[in-house]
């Protein structure tokens, strides 16, 4: 009883504080300084139609590198944490049979999901989307694969190599930016192209493709670890 009262009190105080914040909120009718610059000059400086992508990949590209590092760190900690003992490694678990529906649907859907993921990250500079979103979509395909066939063995080497190569390429493109253009992760190492077309915005589609592949591989790796660690339960 006391616990519930305290809990309600905490939530009510929180709601009261939020009300204060909400009350002081005023709808903005213009952009703030830095955003104004992105909106006016973004298209000619970066060449990406999607300004969020321009901010994420070029203006704050270093930040994105940090994000990718965080994902990598998560995957490594999970790999370390859910490490299987040698005697568990060969164990197979008897799962309940998956339904016919799921199995058949997954065969049709998985290639389409992968294709959609690739579409999303290649068009990251033109449409809402980008590397992280595309990678997550690819990983949902992998998750469907695991659901449809719980004993599937994902090829760890492929995941590992895709992840490493795309991570290294991302950094190499960043360093090329220092050598050939204005600074780390500058996208002007190749021509900006015609605004609004697929091959435009300089290195952004390339960087985002690598980010997409890396994120997809990393999340697949995490799913793979979850799937395997069921063996020790």
């Amino acid at each position: 009883m006391l616990k519930n009262t305290l809990m309600t009190l905490v939530l009510l105080v929180m709601a009261y504080l939020f009300y204060g914040l909400y009350d002081g909120y005023e709808l903005r009718d213009s952009l703030s300084g830095i955003s104004e610059h992105f909106a006016t000059k973004g298209a000619e400086e970066v060449g990406a139609a999607n300004l969020v992508t321009a901010v994420v990949v070029t203006y704050r590209g270093f930040d994105t590198l940090g994000e990718v590092t965080i994902l990598f760190l998560t995957a490594s900690i999970i790999a370390f944490f859910l490490k299987l003992k040698d005697e568990d490694f060969e164990k197979t678990i008897e799962h309940r049979d998956t339904s016919e529906l799921l199995e058949t649907a997954s065969k049709i859907l998985i290639p389409v999901i992968f294709l959609f993921g690739i579409y999303v990250f290649i068009n990251g500079h033109l449409t809402p989307g980008g590397g992280f979103q595309g990678g997550a979509i690819i990983a949902t395909g992998v998750a469907l694969m695991i659901l449809a066939n719980p004993n599937i063995k994902l090829n760890y080497n492929v995941i590992h190599w895709v992840e490493s190569i795309s991570g290294v390429s991302f950094v190499i493109i960043g360093i090329l930016g220092i050598l050939l253009a204005g600074g780390f992760l500058d996208n002007k190492i190749i021509g900006l192209g015609k605004f609004g077309e697929l091959f435009s915005a300089g290195a952004i589609p390339i960087i985002y493709s690598f980010v997409g592949l890396k994120v997809g591989a990393e999340i697949s790796n995490i799913l793979n670890k979850y799937q395997k660690s069921q063996k020790e339960l």
């Binding site: 939530l11 298209a43 999607n50 994420v56 998560t74 900690i77 339960l233």
Partner: protein, 126 residues
């Protein structure tokens, strides 16, 4: 009807989601439900940040034929703030990482006690 616009709606729903998430974290006994609570909390905060970037009557920060004409890509008076959206992208990725880690811990905890009830984990209680 001053408050019916995307900025205020986003703020209200964001605050509500934060409170619901906190309620879930504080009251639920099942570890998976606590993790879901954290996820909802995370979503609420993200929604809040995006709403703060809303500019009255403006559209998404994607330059296309509806807001710009060929050769003139200055859209400063037509789009909402792109910076909070970019920041939220970072926040979502970190939220994903935290959720994934929490699920891994939940798996280990389940292995230790064969249960996901938080009350069973009382080894540090005196």
């Amino acid at each position: 009807m001053e408050f019916i616009n995307l900025g205020n709606i986003g703020l209200i729903i964001g605050f509500l989601l934060i409170i619901v998430g906190f309620w879930g974290v504080l009251t639920q006994k099942n570890i998976i439900k606590i993790i879901i609570g954290f996820s909802i909390l995370n979503t609420g905060i993200n929604l809040l940040i995006v709403s703060l970037g809303y500019v009255k009557g403006k559209t998404a920060p994607i330059i296309d034929a509806t807001i710009a004409t060929e050769g003139n890509y200055n859209v400063a008076d037509k789009i909402v703030d792109p910076v909070p959206q970019a920041l939220v992208l970072t926040a979502i990725v970190i939220g994903f990482g935290i959720t994934a880690l929490m699920l891994a811990y939940a798996m280990k905890l389940y292995k230790a006690k064969k249960s996901l009830e938080i009350n069973k984990f009382n080894d540090l209680k005196w």
